[in-house]
């Protein structure tokens, strides 16, 4: 993507001039955190999650058409393979969490995206919303486990990965009820892998690109970006 910029963002340690707190965290570098209290959602936080969710929901719907058409033709022979392409569904939660960095952001964003992708009509009907809630929960729990203090690529990949088993557990009641347990577990693993790579690493890159495009100035990722290249 055109908006990728410098490579210094992960290695800098010079985030000291800001008014917000910084926390120790990820494998590389530090994450700038949201203003305290963490539960003190600003209007722009709420609106950004809702709008981000809506836009990603439209993208979900488009991905669903592709997923249902050309992709299911490819994965028709062997369904767990389809899980490799499920990562994009977890993207909204990861990006929502990475942008706003407050408890509930990941869940809220994923649910809005699921709702918006459900209304125009999808393969999965009303269960789309349930999937969104379940997957969003998985992502949210990952950020919560890290104490809402780590938002680097490792945290993002964990969040994306955790959505996988949650999704698989839920689907084992609906779509894959009759698979053998071994296949269900394998499926969960494939979902987690796809989630970690596509939603996790992909979501982290997307968030960075959005910050570089100046679209996240009111949020910690925008601040991380700007502190690395003060103008």
């Amino acid at each position: 993507m055109a908006a990728q910029t410098d490579t210094s963002a992960t290695t800098d340690g010079t985030t000291a001039t800001t008014g917000t707190t910084t926390g120790a965290g990820t494998a590389r570098g530090r994450s700038i955190l949201a203003t305290r209290p963490l539960t003190g959602w600003r209007t722009v936080d709420i609106l950004t999650i809702a709008f981000l969710g809506a836009a990603l929901g439209i993208a979900f719907w488009g991905w669903g058409v592709f997923y249902n058409g050309p992709l299911s033709a490819i994965t028709f022979g062997f369904a767990p393979l389809g899980g490799l392409f499920a990562g994009p569904w977890f993207l909204a939660g990861v990006v929502g969490g990475l942008v706003v960095r407050r408890p509930g952001a990941a869940l809220f964003c994923e649910v809005v995206a699921a709702l918006v992708s459900m209304i125009p009509g999808t393969e999965w009907g009303a269960t789309t919303l349930v999937s969104g809630i379940v997957q969003g929960l998985g992502t949210e729990i990952a950020f919560a486990l890290l104490g809402y203090r780590a938002f680097g690529i490792a945290a993002a990949m964990l969040a994306g990965a955790l959505a996988g088993p949650f999704a698989a557990a839920y689907e084992s009641f609906t779509w894959i009820q009759d698979w053998s347990l071994a296949w269900k577990v394998a499926y969960a693993g494939v979902l987690a892998l796809s989630g970690a790579v596509v939603a996790g690493a992909g979501g982290w890159l997307l968030t960075r690109a959005l910050a570089a495009a100046g679209a996240l100035n009111a949020f910690p990722p925008g601040q991380e970006h700007r502190e690395t290249r003060a103008v």
């Binding site: 055109a2 009820q177 495009a213 679209a215």
Partner: protein, 758 residues
């Protein structure tokens, strides 16, 4: 609803103006070395009207946000000094400082006029019974007489700005801040907005600050003028007449339109002149785009999957811009000027008539063929930036056409230097000011020498510097042999055109009588959602395909009832079966795929596989029938009032759902910007297609985030941040239809349980 007050009282009572004090206000956004505002100190006595001017990027909007106490709403930074209104922090009383933003519609919260004006009232907990009268009074104060249920999307730009003003007035502000309220409007609508402001100020003498760079029309409305310089320092302050007289030269230097000063001399670019278009070695660059008389339709795709099509433009003469000519499309807003440009650019196919390049319809040209033929400059250039640096941005099309020669790069540098962007070559174009982005957009559209340039309102809202650059660029491009078509209201630009085409708003076919709703549409959003969810257990419970089949049959019967036309007048709804079938199609594919994978991974058992496939159909059918009937607007009301969900997220969700359909327009605009510059979707390169989709989606996300940030400022100015006990303009009743629908939806589940037990 409770009865209205017996005696007609003035509901928007005159409010005394607020006393505004700023002391040493300095604001530095994080990541910038230099502050945007420097040590600004100032006092505005109650009721004073002030004009605030400064060069582009001088922090005028920032100062308004500081006065409103909203600096940190959509940005993060370091704030020194203090701001008070009547001795306390601004916004202590919700809506005390009213704010109208530059872009019409940026602050629109709701789908209808009434709800939008009532937004602030909801935030401060006004009882519902008091709202309609207050809304009517506020609309009356700005001269809007629309019924409360008028869709906000049906308003013109000027009306939208007046709606924003009414929304602010409903909360009895003591300070009113107007951020270039007319910069994006045509002269007629701009005058309308100014008349509204004058009317409001006559009856409500509140403290007012207007930011503008066209001073003429405002000087009679204000008493005092403040001038910010490019560094964010207050450099002049005094009675408006004195400041204009004493600071005339400085103001002209800043690019401000001072009354009585002639328009600036158009800038000439030697770089453009040397890039001659007419003669030269590229015979393919002949201007062969031509249009017959045509009508163009535009279609809005709504969230429920339905579409609304209307005639957006009608041109009754052929258009064939010849080399070296300038054509101006003029006409009131809503007459379809931008639409005609989009049709010429091949983004819309005319419903009648045609737009061709040689023998091919322009809409069928590949992306590079299109880039060779024409350049297009949209009205809002910020959303169509494609590259990471200014120099790359100018070279996008040249690169796509394989023409990135050293000479071309040198030419690009010269052109940028001529436009005053030379020092910004390496900068990120998204960080430029609006005027700089406008100049860059035109340079990017012409550098690769397409023979035709389409520019949408290229001078609207621009300061003198950018105006001179844009007019000069267009003239230079024409002298070099290019054909120019602009849509414009700018008299000096119209004067310079050879052909003036006046468009009239097209006559719309009278709306057909709306069809009767289906029975299920009488239920509210919660009942519809519940009905769709009830299918999930109904699908899971059966353990044999025979049970599933019976459940599915019951659902099918219920679907027929749900889709039955409600009694009443009007034609019968059409296409019901087709819509449901279309929506079931993905579900049917899903059923096939689930059935197959179950057979494969569940022990090659056909009975289980068929059961699994039927399960999918049972789960999906009610969704296909009921979900399209969910009204996003009412969904918000019901989630908050019936389910008692926290109101702020619910309002945000409703606002986002309300704007989903505009995302489609944004998407097409970005896609067109890429296509005309040679990097659009190309069916012959399927892998590039995926990358392109990704990039366009990214552009959409950036634009969406900007919308959210602007809306956050507008909402906080109307008391949303402190809305703890919100009331709601519209009720969320639970009716008999809701109960019936839920009970009906439970029937398949009951059947499933009974048959499975038996």
């Amino acid at each position: 609803m409770a009865p209205l007050e017996p005696a007609p009282e003035p509901l928007v009572e005159p409010v005394a103006g607020g006393h505004v004090t700023l002391e040493g206000v300095t604001w530095r956004p994080f990541g910038r070395r230099e502050p945007v505002l420097r040590d600004v100190s100032l006092t505005l006595p109650p009721g004073e009207r002030v004009l605030l001017v400064g060069p582009s990027g001088s922090g005028k909007s920032t100062l308004l946000r500081a006065i409103a106490g909203l600096l940190e709403t959509a940005d993060a930074g370091e704030l020194l000094g203090s701001v008070t209104v009547d001795g306390h922090a601004p916004g202590t009383r919700a809506g005390e400082v009213g704010l109208v933003l530059q872009e019409p519609g940026a602050g629109i919260v709701a789908a209808t006029v009434g709800r939008d004006v009532a937004f602030g009232l909801e935030n401060v907990g006004t009882p519902r019974a008091d709202m309609p009268a207050a809304v009517t009074a506020a609309l009356g104060a700005v001269g809007l007489a629309h019924p409360h249920d008028t869709p906000t999307s049906a308003l013109s730009g000027g009306e939208t700005q007046r709606l924003a003003l009414a929304g602010a007035l409903a909360l009895h502000p003591s300070v009113l801040l107007l951020d270039e309220p007319t910069a994006m409007l045509d002269p007629g609508h701009a005058a309308q907005v100014r008349r509204s402001v004058a009317k409001v100020l006559a009856s409500h003498p509140v403290t007012t600050v207007v930011v503008e760079h066209v001073l003429g029309p405002w000087v009679d409305l204000v008493e005092r003028m403040l001038v910010l310089d490019g560094e964010g320092t207050l450099v002049a302050d005094g009675p408006v007449g004195d400041v204009i007289r004493e600071e005339r030269e400085r103001l002209l230097d800043m690019g401000i339109w001072v009354p009585g000063a002639p328009p600036p001399a158009p800038l000439t670019s030697s770089a453009l002149a040397s890039a001659s278009l007419g003669a030269g070695p590229s015979p393919r660059r002949t201007q062969d785009v031509a249009a017959t008389p045509m009508t163009v339709e535009r279609t809005v795709r709504l969230l429920d999957g339905s579409t609304r099509t209307r005639t957006a433009a009608a041109v009754d003469i052929p258009l064939h811009p010849s080399p070296g000519s300038a054509t101006a499309l003029v006409g009131p807003s809503g007459s379809g000027k931008s639409t005609v440009l989009l049709a010429l650019a091949g983004a819309l196919e005319p419903a009648t008539g045609s737009v061709t390049a040689g023998s091919d319809p322009v809409a069928d040209l590949g992306t590079t063929a299109l880039a060779r033929r024409l350049g297009w400059v949209p009205q809002w250039s910020s959303s169509t930036i494609l590259a990471g640096s200014v120099l790359d941005e100018v070279l996008v099309a040249s690169r796509a056409l394989g023409e990135e020669t050293p000479e071309r790069v040198a030419l690009a540098s010269r052109l940028l230097a001529d436009l005053g962007l030379g020092h910004l070559q390496a900068a990120d174009p998204r960080e430029l000011s609006g005027g700089e982005q406008r100049r860059l957009a035109i340079a990017s559209a012409v550098l690769h020498r397409p023979p035709l340039l389409l520019a949408d309102e290229p001078t609207v809202g621009q300061d003198r510097h950018t105006w001179a650059a844009v007019v000069g660029l267009l003239a230079g491009y024409r002298e070099a042999g290019g054909a120019v078509v602009v849509s414009t209201h700018d008299a000096s630009l119209i004067e310079r055109a050879h052909t003036v085409v006046t468009l009239e708003p097209p006559t719309q076919a009278p709306d057909p009588e709306p069809p009767r709703p289906v029975l299920a549409a009488r239920a509210g959003p919660l009942a519809l959602l519940l009905g769709a969810f009830a299918a999930i257990p109904a699908g899971i419970v059966p353990d044999h395909w025979r049970t599933s089949l019976v459940v599915f049959a019951v659902q099918a019967v219920l679907a027929v009832v749900a889709l039955w036309a409600a009694p009443g007048s009007g034609p019968r709804p059409r296409g019901r079966l087709r819509r449901v079938t279309l929506r079931m199609l993905p579900g049917a594919l899903g059923a096939l795929s689930v059935g197959w994978s179950t057979w494969l991974l569940g022990g090659h058992d056909t009975t289980t596989a068929v059961t699994a496939a039927l399960r999918v159909l049972v789960i999906v059918l009610p969704s296909a029938v009921l979900l399209p009937l969910v009204d996003p607007d009412r969904l918000g009301d019901h989630l908050a009032q019936r389910l008692r969900m926290p109101s702020r997220p619910v309002v945000a969700l409703a606002a986002a759902l309300q704007r989903v359909h505009t995302l489609g327009e944004v998407w097409s605009e970005i896609a067109l910007a890429r296509r005309v510059r040679g990097i659009g979707v190309d069916r012959r390169r399927p892998l590039a297609l995926i990358r392109d989709l990704g990039t366009v989606t990214f552009g959409l996300l950036v634009r969406t985030l900007r919308m959210a940030a602007d809306l956050a400022v507008a909402m906080d100015a109307r008391g949303f941040a402190s809305a703890s006990r919100r009331t709601w303009f519209a009720p969320a009743p639970w009716r008999w239809a809701d109960t019936l629908l839920v009970v009906g939806s439970l029937v398949p589940l009951v059947v499933a349980v009974l048959l499975t037990r038996a």
